[in-house]
Structures are given as structure tokens and as C-alpha cells.
């Protein structure tokens, strides 16, 4: 059976465009998370774990409905719960699905020194290739969203793949499929932006959220996961969503000017070592040093 026949053309009872429409292969794909209709049911959390065969974690009570403090190597999709007081004495309970944002300019990829360990596909998915990962953890530093997580057992780093295996087959990611309220949508970036803007307009016009808007931060070139927020001027309130994320300066410096300097320095070091060896011969270990080490 060709895959084309599995592509959905009509769908019943589904809000928004057909999931996965136009997302095969080359077009840029995007997840839309409408935080204003998220009910924090965590179906996406479990769908993610089950589809990706991730082992369940042992969690502990932490005075919150949130499953754990942040994403983990085996927990790539986490709803962040935040109680937010309102000016009128009322409150809001904000729930935001946290996962890899699939940045157009990924900081993790920029920071990664290992050949082929992080790739970006033509459809925008940023994927970790654990076979090539050297476990240096630089991607963790490079990510402005605190997403990649190190597994000490395998010494490799993991994160959301945007279900690249499903998406290449014309399916939506597992989290989208599991969402019961239609808070999660999946499609091309253009379609999702359009849907997100429409929803934000509705929130401003009919629901009194004057600052409602779409989160698609330009600092990382836009993202493959965009949010509708009740208050787009305060993304930090949604469990620390950075207001203007960008690739850290350390990574930028290191990957361009510093990298050249570093290479020069390394070359200089090698020359120095060689010259030292030619001039003084091999280094001899003194006995006192040995004793000192065994004492501790």
C-alpha cells in the first residue's frame, strides 16, 4: 500500500486543519500549542513516553500537579503548571506543554562538536542521532529552553524528536494524536501560524485577553513549536518560557571566532610540547608525588 493512501483528506470532529496536511517531507512542519485550551490532562506526556518506548520515571510529590520539575532524558514532553494571580484578585492556572521547540536556528546544533550527532531536516525537525553523540553535553548549554537531557547510564543526550518517525509517514506526532481537547495542532508552519493568529484574535475580541498573541521567537529564527498565550507579553509566567531566547553568546563565540582561536591555541600547544620534548626529554615522575596521592 502506498503511503499516499494513508494520508488523511477528510476528518470528523476535528478542530482546525487536518493533522499533518502538507507536512510530508520538505515543507516546514509545526506544532501549535494553544495554552488557552490546555486542560493539563497529561495525555500528551504519556503518549510521548509510550510511542517513544521511554521507561516510566519514579517521581515524588512536589506540592504541584506538575509531573516533575523539568523534562528528563526519558520524559520529553512535560506540562508546566503555574498559578498566576490576576490584578482583580482572581487567578489563572496556566498550563504549558514544554518540549523541544525545534528552532530554525538550533542552539544545540550550533554547540554540538560531534559529527552528525544533531541534524536539522528539510521539514525543520531538529533530531539527535544518539549513535554519533559523544555525551559532551554542549547541546545542553546551547539550548535556550533547557530541553536536552543527559542519560548517565548511556552517556548520551535525548529530547523530543517531533516524532520524526511518524511525521515521515504522514502522521501527526503522538502528543497531537492524544490531545483530547484540540489544544494541540500539527501542520505546516504557515497553516499553524495562521490558525494561531486567528485564535489570538478571537481571544482579544471575545474573551477579554487584550494581550493575547503568538509565541514564535525570532531570536532563534522562529520555532517549530509555537504557542498561543493569553498574555504574549509575559511568556515567563508560563513556566519560564524565555521572553527573547537566543543562542548563548558562549556558544556563538566558541563556534566562530573562538573556534579559530582555539584551534590556533591547540596547534601552538602541540608545537610547544614537541619543542619541550626535544629540548628536555620525557617527564620523570617523582616518588614523593606518589605518596602524596595514596594518602588521600
Amino acid at each position: 500500500m502506498s503511503q499516499a493512501t494513508l494520508r488523511i483528506v477528510k476528518i470528523s470532529g476535528h478542530p482546525g486543519p487536518i493533522p499533518g496536511r502538507g507536512t510530508q517531507r520538505e515543507e516546514q512542519v509545526c506544532k501549535l500549542v494553544d495554552t488557552t485550551t490546555c486542560i493539563g490532562c497529561k495525555a500528551c506526556e504519556i503518549a510521548c513516553q509510550e510511542w517513544n518506548d521511554l521507561p516510566f520515571a519514579t517521581t515524588s510529590f512536589n506540592n504541584t500537579y506538575q509531573t516533575m520539575p523539568h523534562t528528563e532524558w526519558n520524559f520529553w514532553n512535560l506540562i508546566k503548571f503555574n498559578e498566576q494571580p490576576k490584578a482583580d484578585g482572581g487567578m489563572m492556572w496556566l498550563m504549558r506543554k514544554d518540549q523541544c521547540m525545534h528552532c530554525a536556528e538550533p542552539g544545540c546544533l550550533a554547540a554540538c562538536p560531534a559529527d552528525s550527532a544533531i541534524v536539522q531536516y528539510a521539514n525543520g525537525i531538529v533530531d539527535f542521532q544518539q549513535d554519533h553523540c559523544i555525551g559532551c553535553g554542549y547541546c545542553v548549554t546551547g539550548c535556550p529552553f533547557d530541553i536536552p537531557k543527559f542519560n548517565p547510564a548511556t552517556k548520551k543526550v535525548y529530547k523530543c524528536t517531533l516524532c520524526s518517525d511518524r511525521v515521515t509517514q504522514g502522521l501527526e506526532p503522538a502528543c497531537i494524536k492524544a490531545c483530547p481537547t484540540g489544544c494541540l495542532h500539527f501542520g505546516t508552519k504557515d497553516d499553524m501560524k495562521d490558525l494561531a493568529e486567528k485564535r489570538a484574535t478571537q481571544l482579544r475580541d471575545h474573551y477579554g485577553f487584550e494581550k493575547a498573541g503568538v509565541y514564535d521567537p525570532p531570536g532563534v529564527g522562529g520555532t517549530g513549536v509555537i504557542y498561543v498565550l493569553h498574555d504574549a507579553t509575559n511568556p515567563e509566567a508560563y513556566g519560564g518560557l524565555p521572553a527573547s531566547p537566543s543562542i548563548p553568546w558562549s556558544v556563538r563565540l566558541w563556534k566562530s571566532p573562538l573556534k579559530i582561536l582555539g584551534n590556533l591555541a591547540m596547534l601552538g600547544g602541540l608545537i610547544g610540547v614537541t619543542l619541550h620534548y626535544l629540548r628536555f626529554g620525557p617527564k620523570v615522575v617523582k616518588e614523593t608525588q606518589h605518596r602524596g596521592e595514596t594518602k588521600t
Binding site: 485550551t37 519514579t58 510529590f61 506540592n63 496556566l94 481537547t181
Partner: protein, 847 residues
């Protein structure tokens, strides 16, 4: 539900109270979100906590648990005073214009007329309509007779019956007409009073009242509002009356019978609606036929008691559908006893048990505790955990001779003998024999689920049960066949009902559920014909609907409301058609909805008196003048050829034909109108009538274990209980995925109270009620706030119910092994006998 899940998408306004659908019905809640996304619908959530439903609502009001009637009464008062009511609907489709007897008294002092304090019951003879014709003239352009109401001053002889020709006043001005009585009843429910009782500040109450009733601004009938609730309403000693209050508000606003409207109960289990329909209740037979009682000397007397006669204003018509009760009852007896049910033996009526007392849930445990119930079959439920007063249930099981538990996990009920506090020494003294039978899970069984929307949906077993596990019906069949064998061999006092029970399944030891479903639908036992339709059903054929049921023994039907679910055309409940021609989410070819595949009940009320839809964009059914019949997208809930000119009432299940703002004689035990009564354990006297704080019909149980707390005893905090979206009752604590999401039990505590106690989130707390203690970690939150109840600062806390003494976290020793229902009291609603799980008093301290 009067409507259905998908239909919620058609609404303009939602009042969600006594339920938390985002957490407990997340899949169905999709349609509430759809209404917001596609219709700009508004959502009001009234709950003791700021829940995940409140998180997506437009307005959340924090209410004191158990005071919903005060709030709804306030809304009724607001709607009437601000003229935000559906006048034409009210006059023609409800009993607003009906006159009530002279001797009837409103409960200004907390009691309706006819209260007998010694017996804690009501003589309901004055709770009745007055006999007579029209008064005051006027009306909504209807034909009417002239005349004067004749107040029935003399006490009618018992048992009271409804008058045939009800006195009425279409101007709604007569002081004894239902509308004026209603107005007077709720005139006491002012915003000030609502605030003092419920703790909802007046400005917030005004906001909610204005928003909810805004759909009837200027008398416009186009918009529609829905009310959505669950066990947050039913699990109170005022449960039934709370739902009555919601129904009255919806009738007042003209929202019943309409797409996007109605009164919608969200059922908590996948098949709890089916269990109710099939009479999983002691006082009902399948299809809501009343159970016989010892006063029914014979079948005729029984039928006379349970078959209503029409009662209405003279010129109106009433279909009085329950007048078909004899057909339903005879067909039921034929399904039960086959050839043994004959006209000569009253259709084997004597085989049916005559229920002489209350055998409801709490009573069963009380009887076991007192020693009169010797054994119990516990299938598909965990009785100890369900409570109320789990400790009493454990004590009761200790006294039983035997217990059979059919389960898929080791549960608290089957291990009651090692519940916390029982020492090895104690165990030696427990003589109960426990049989634990490995059963099948839901995915291992064929069968149908009936959902909240009344849809019967067939499912196929995904895989066979593992190991020695058996299907429920195989276990029950085995037991039945053994019992029958014993009766065959030994005779016994009355073997006939057992020996003559229909058991004609292909495999008697393991009946197929499909065969049972066909039996429930019913079949013709002899040839039956309908001359009007010019149609004949041959003997042995499945019946197409309950319209074919006969009272002469020629039809058999296990449950009349399910008739039509499995016809000669096949299993209608297994249909999977996804066509929705109206776009209203009717999906007429998906599964099968009782009754007769009708999706919205009372849908004739979606049209005005002339039979035209109130809103042409959401038209469901309508009168087709040319065809002289009712047509539309749904199955009309009406006599299909009843011309609107005949003024037949749209509420065909009531003998009046109209919706009841006032419930006459007996249908509701504790009053024709809902009145606010405090929960049995409450932090305040009833401000409406301090001398009658509680529901006067609520009887407290009297064993030494049935203790009730007061503020004076130090129980100064209001406690409510609930479920979490991450867990399903007492099962998922055995599943690592759910345990990962919420690993441990907790108590939700207002931050302000925690500050006063110097308590931090994560610390262990002890909650104590008059019954027992509960220990878990504190979840300190700003989602619950202090409230002013009659000017006094009052706190509420909340406890999820999911953990006990068996499960992953329990077995790892991560919990205190205390079921939540150790705390809840053994008091019940006097109508439905549902325990008051949702509101009681506790103390809170650091553990």
C-alpha cells in the same frame, strides 16, 4: 444527559457546577472547548476549588461545598426579577400556570406542609394541583375554557392522585399558580443571602447571574445555555433537589429540549448509565419501571399504582407516555419467565421480589454491620474504598460469613482483613471466608457501554482474559446453574422464580453478551401486527422498537427503553456511520441512542407553540404543515402527528405533558421545590431557617460507628473529596504510568490556612473527622481561598480519593495506607440514597 456530549458544541453558555469535566471527562470536554472556539461561547465554573476546568473558564466562583441550591435559587430569583425568562415557553411547556392546592405551604420555616416529625416524613396530599379550569382569562393565544379555580380545602383521601382537570392561570398572576409560588419561594434567595450561605461575594454572584441569564436578554429566544454537572451535585443530602433546581432554571430560561441546552449529567464510569438503565438500583426494574412492594396485592394493583393518568388543563393534550406501562411490564415478565408467565398467573408477577424497605448502598453495609447480611458478591467495585465510612465497611466484612470478590487486581475489599490497624492477633479472630475470583478487564470483554449521552456502543474483546481469569457472565452463570440445581434437587420454599427463569443461551455456562443484548431488545413471541403501519412482526423476530410491545404476552422485552438497539436489521448499537447532515453533531447512524435513537430528549420544546424552531440555525425537529407531521434531523420526542394546535405538552413522560417547576405528590420526597439545607456536617446553621438546618428527611444511622461531627467538637474545616484526571478510581494506582503522573496521595490546603498553621507544601498532615483519620502530604495552593460564611472566615480543604492500602505506592510504603473514605459520613440523600461524600467537617493538624 438530556442532550449529548457532541451537542455541547452547539451551546452559547455553559454553567459547569458540581462537576469537573476537564479533569474527569477530558475527552468529552473537547466539545465544551469547541463551543468556545467556534461559537464564542462562555463558560462559568462554580466549584469549591479552582480546578483544571476553571483554568479554561471565563468565570470561576468558589462556592462552599453543599450550598448549590442556594446559588441556583439565587439565579432563579435573579432571572425572574430581571425578566430574563422564556415567557412563551414557560406558559405553554411548563406547569408555571398550574394552580396548587390551597393547603400547600412553602418552607419559610424549613418545612413544607404535611411534615410528620415523629416519622420524619411528609404527608404529601397538599403538594398537588388544584382541580378546575382557567382563571384570569388571558394567555398566549391558546384555546381555553373559562371557569374558576376551586381550591381543594378538604384533605383528599390517601393516596393522593393528580387531578384530571387542573386549574390554571395563563397570566401567571394567581397567587397560587406555580410561577407565583416559585417566585415567592426564591424571593428569599437574595444576593446577600447567597453570599452569606455560599461564600460567593455579591459582585461575583451578580457577574455570573448576569452572564448566565444574558441569553434571555430582552426575551430573545435564539440563544441557548447548558448546565453540566456530575457527582459534585449528587453526592450530598440535597443531591436530587440540586438537580431539580438546575432543571427548573433551565425550564425558566426555555433551555430544555434544545440543541446546546438541557441538563447534562456527566457519568463517571464508562457504563454507569447502562447500570442505571438496567436497574442497578434496588427500587427500580429495568427501564425505570418501579419495583413492586408488599402493598401490591396482585399485578393489577401494581400496575394501577405505577401507571399514571393524565393530569392537565382541560383544553390541552397530554400524551402521558407512561400510560404504556402495562405493555412494558408484561413484556419484561415474559422476558424473565417465558412460558411460565401467563395471564392466568398474573404474568408470574409473584416471582418478582417485593421490596419492603430501603436496600440502598449504605443500608447494605449497615445491615451487614448489624449482622443481618451474611455475605456479599463484590464485582466491578471496591466496596471498602467506596465507603462512606470505610472503617464501618471493614468492620461489617469482619462480621460476614463470606465475601466473593471478582477483580483484576488484589484490592482493599478482598484484603479488608489486613487493613491498617489489624494485628496478626486480630486476624485470627476474623472468620469471614474470602473468595477472590480473577476476572476479565474491559478490553477482554465483548458488550456495550452506554455513555452519558445515552448511546449504546458495542465493543469487541481485544484479547482473551489471561490465565484462569473468567468473564463475569461465565462466573454468574456457573453460580446460577448450581443454585438452580440445588432448587431442583431440594425444592425449597419458593423454587419457581429460579426454576422458571429464562436461560435459553446457546452456551448456558457462558452466555454470549450478544444473546443477552438481543434478549434485552425484545422479540415477538407470536405474530404481532400494527394495522396503522400495515406491518407485521413474525414470532421469533426481533422487535423494531418499544412501540410494538404488547400487554397480552405476545412480546418479550428485557428493558423497554433499549428496544430498538438490536433489531432484525442487526445490532444497531454497533453502527459506525459518520454522516451528520445537520452539522449539529447528531450522527444518527453512529451507535444507537435510547430511546428510539433520539439524541436530544424533549426536542419538541426546541420549537415554539406553532411548531417553528426557536433558532432556525440550530433546528432539530419541526412541524411540517404539508405533511401534517413532525420532521427533522433528530427523532421527534413527540407524537409524530400531533398538530401544534392540539397543544400537546412536549414533556410526554409527565402525565401533565409539561415540564415541572413544581413537583406534585411524591415524585420527590423532600419538597415540590428545592430548598437549601445544610450538609449534615456543616460549619453554620441554616441562615434561611436556623431551627431546621438539615434536610428534615435525612435519617442518621444509629450504630456506635455512625458518628457525626460539629464545629463545637473542633471539626472546624469543611472537607470535600474528588478524583484526579491522572487516576481512575482505585485501579490505576496499580499502573506505573498513572503512578508516575501523580505518585502519592495529598490534601489540598489553602495557602492562607497553611500560613496560619506554619505548614509548608510536602509536609505530612493528619485530617480527622468524627469517623477516622487520614494522613497524606500537604499540597499548599492559592487555588483554594478562605471564604466568609455568614461573616465568619471558613476554610475548605480537598482530598483526592484514589489511594488505599494496595497499589504500587502503597506496597512500596510511600503512603499512610488510609483510604479517603475513612472520613466520609454515612448519611444519604432521601431520594436517590447517594451518600454525602462531597461535604463534611474535619480537623487539620500536622502529622
Amino acid at each position: 444527559m438530556t442532550n449529548g456530549w457532541i451537542d455541547i458544541k452547539n451551546t452559547d453558555m455553559m454553567l459547569i457546577e458540581g462537576g469537573n469535566p476537564a479533569e474527569n471527562h477530558p475527552c468529552g470536554f473537547k466539545w465544551a472547548i469547541e463551543a468556545k472556539r467556534n461559537r464564542n461561547a462562555k463558560m462559568i465554573v462554580v466549584d469549591p476549588r479552582f480546578t483544571r476546568t476553571a483554568a479554561v473558564a471565563d468565570l470561576h466562583l468558589q462556592i462552599r461545598t453543599g450550598t448549590d441550591i442556594a446559588f441556583l435559587g439565587g439565579l432563579i430569583h435573579y432571572a425572574i426579577e430581571n425578566n430574563r425568562i422564556a415567557k412563551e415557553y414557560l406558559v405553554n411547556f411548563t406547569n408555571a400556570a398550574f394552580l396548587v392546592q390551597d393547603g400547600f405551604k412553602l418552607p419559610e420555616d424549613g418545612l413544607y406542609s404535611g411534615f410528620d416529625a415523629a416519622d420524619q416524613s411528609y404527608d404529601k396530599s397538599t403538594w398537588n394541583y388544584a382541580e378546575g379550569g382557567a382563571v384570569n382569562g388571558g394567555g398566549a393565544g391558546l384555546s381555553r375554557v373559562d371557569g374558576h379555580a376551586q381550591g381543594a380545602h378538604a384533605t383528599p383521601p390517601p393516596p393522593p392522585t393528580l387531578p384530571e382537570n387542573v386549574a390554571y392561570d395563563l397570566t401567571l398572576q394567581h397567587p397560587r399558580c406555580v410561577f407565583q409560588l416559585l417566585r415567592r419561594q426564591y424571593s428569599r434567595y437574595t444576593p446577600e443571602m447567597v453570599e452569606k450561605i455560599t461564600g460567593i461575594p455579591q459582585d461575583q454572584f451578580h457577574k455570573a447571574a448576569d452572564l448566565f441569564t444574558s441569553i434571555r436578554k430582552g426575551g430573545d429566544m435564539k440563544k441557548v445555555a447548558t448546565i453540566i454537572y456530575a457527582v459534585g451535585w449528587t453526592q450530598h443530602t440535597s443531591g436530587t433537589q440540586t438537580i431539580r433546581a438546575a432543571a427548573m432554571l433551565q425550564l425558566l430560561l426555555g433551555n430544555v429540549g434544545r440543541a446546546g441546552g438541557g441538563v447534562n449529567a456527566l457519568r463517571g464510569h464508562s457504563n454507569i448509565q447502562g447500570a442505571t438503565d438496567m436497574a442497578g438500583v434496588f427500587d427500580l426494574l429495568p427501564g425505570y419501571l418501579k419495583v413492586p412492594n408488599p402493598s401490591d396485592a396482585n399485578f393489577d394493583a401494581y400496575l394501577k399504582r405505577i401507571t399514571p393518568k393524565p393530569s392537565k388543563p382541560g383544553p390541552w393534550t397530554s400524551m402521558n407516555y407512561w400510560s404504556n406501562t402495562p405493555q412494558f411490564a408484561v413484556s419484561f415478565l415474559k422476558a424473565m419467565y417465558g412460558d411460565a408467565a401467563r395471564k392466568e398467573n398474573d404474568w408470574a408477577f409473584d416471582y418478582l421480589p417485593k421490596v419492603d424497605r430501603n436496600y440502598s448502598w449504605v443500608q447494605i453495609w449497615d445491615n451487614m454491620y448489624r449482622g443481618s447480611v451474611k455475605g456479599m458478591f463484590a464485582f466491578g467495585m471496591n466496596g471498602v474504598m467506596i465507603g462512606p465510612d470505610s472503617k464501618k465497611n471493614i468492620e461489617a466484612l469482619k462480621k460476614a460469613d463470606w465475601l466473593v470478590v471478582g477483580e483484576i487486581y488484589p484490592d482493599e475489599t478482598s484484603e479488608f482483613w489486613k487493613s491498617p490497624g489489624i494485628t496478626p492477633e486480630d486476624m485470627k479472630g476474623i472468620e469471614t471466608t474470602v473468595y477472590r475470583l480473577p476476572c476479565a478487564g474491559f478490553a477482554e470483554k465483548d458488550g456495550s457501554f452506554t455513555n452519558s449521552a445515552r448511546w449504546l456502543q458495542w465493543k469487541n474483546a481485544a484479547l482473551p482474559p489471561p490465565g484462569d481469569c473468567r468473564l463475569d457472565q461465565a462466573i454468574l452463570a456457573e453460580i446460577f446453574l448450581k443454585v438452580r440445581e440445588l432448587y431442583q434437587k431440594q425444592g425449597g420454599k419458593f423454587p419457581d422464580p429460579i426454576l422458571n427463569l429464562t436461560w435459553s443461551y446457546t452456551d448456558p455456562r457462558n452466555p454470549s453478551i450478544a444473546e443477552v443484548a438481543k434478549e434485552i431488545n425484545g422479540k415477538a413471541l407470536a405474530e404481532v401486527s400494527d394495522p396503522k403501519l400495515n406491518q407485521t412482526i413474525k414470532a421469533g423476530q426481533q422487535l423494531p422498537s418499544f412501540a410494538w410491545l404488547r400487554d397480552d404476552g405476545t412480546t418479550a422485552c428485557g428493558n423497554w427503553i433499549y428496544s430498538g438497539s438490536w433489531t432484525e436489521a442487526g445490532p444497531q448499537l454497533a453502527r459506525r456511520g459518520t454522516e451528520d447532515p445537520s452539522g449539529l453533531g447528531v450522527y444518527p447512524n453512529w451507535a444507537w441512542s435510547w430511546p428510539v435513537n433520539r439524541r436530544v430528549l424533549y426536542n419538541r420544546a426546541s420549537c415554539n407553540v406553532e411548531g417553528k424552531p426557536w433558532d432556525s440555525d440550530r433546528r432539530q425537529v419541526w412541524w411540517n404543515e404539508a405533511a401534517q407531521k413532525w420532521v427533522g434531523h433528530d427523532v421527534p420526542d413527540f407524537k409524530p402527528d400531533s398538530n401544534p394546535k392540539d397543544h400537546m405538552g412536549p414533556f410526554i413522560m409527565n402525565p401533565e405533558g409539561v415540564g415541572r417547576l413544581f413537583v406534585p405528590i411524591g415524585a420527590v420526597a423532600d419538597g415540590p421545590f428545592p430548598e437549601h439545607y445544610e450538609p449534615i456536617e456543616s460549619p453554620t446553621p441554616n441562615l434561611l431557617h436556623p431551627n431546621q438546618s438539615n434536610n428534615p428527611l435525612v435519617k442518621r444511622l444509629t450504630t456506635a460507628m455512625d458518628k457525626y461531627g460539629t464545629v463545637a467538637d473542633g471539626f472546624n474545616i469543611v472537607c470535600t473529596t474528588y478524583r484526579l484526571t491522572e487516576h481512575y478510581h482505585y485501579w490505576t494506582k496499580n499502573n506505573p504510568a498513572n503512578v508516575e503522573l501523580v505518585p502519592e496521595p495529598f490534601v489540598e490546603i489553602p495557602a492562607e490556612l497553611a500560613d496560619e498553621m506554619g505548614l509548608r507544601g510536602g509536609e505530612r498532615v493528619k485530617v480527622t473527622s468524627a469517623r477516622s483519620e487520614y494522613v497524606a502530604r500537604a499540597m499548599v495552593t492559592r487555588r483554594m481561598k478562605s471564604m466568609l460564611i455568614n461573616g465568619k472566615k471558613t476554610y475548605q480543604i480537598g482530598i483526592p480519593i484514589h489511594w488505599g492500602y494496595r497499589g504500587i505506592a502503597e506496597d512500596e510504603g510511600r503512603t499512610a495506607h488510609t483510604p479517603t473514605n475513612l472520613l466520609s459520613p454515612t448519611v444519604v440523600d432521601p431520594n436517590a440514597f447517594t451518600p454525602e461524600f462531597k461535604g463534611f467537617l474535619v480537623k487539620l493538624e500536622r502529622a
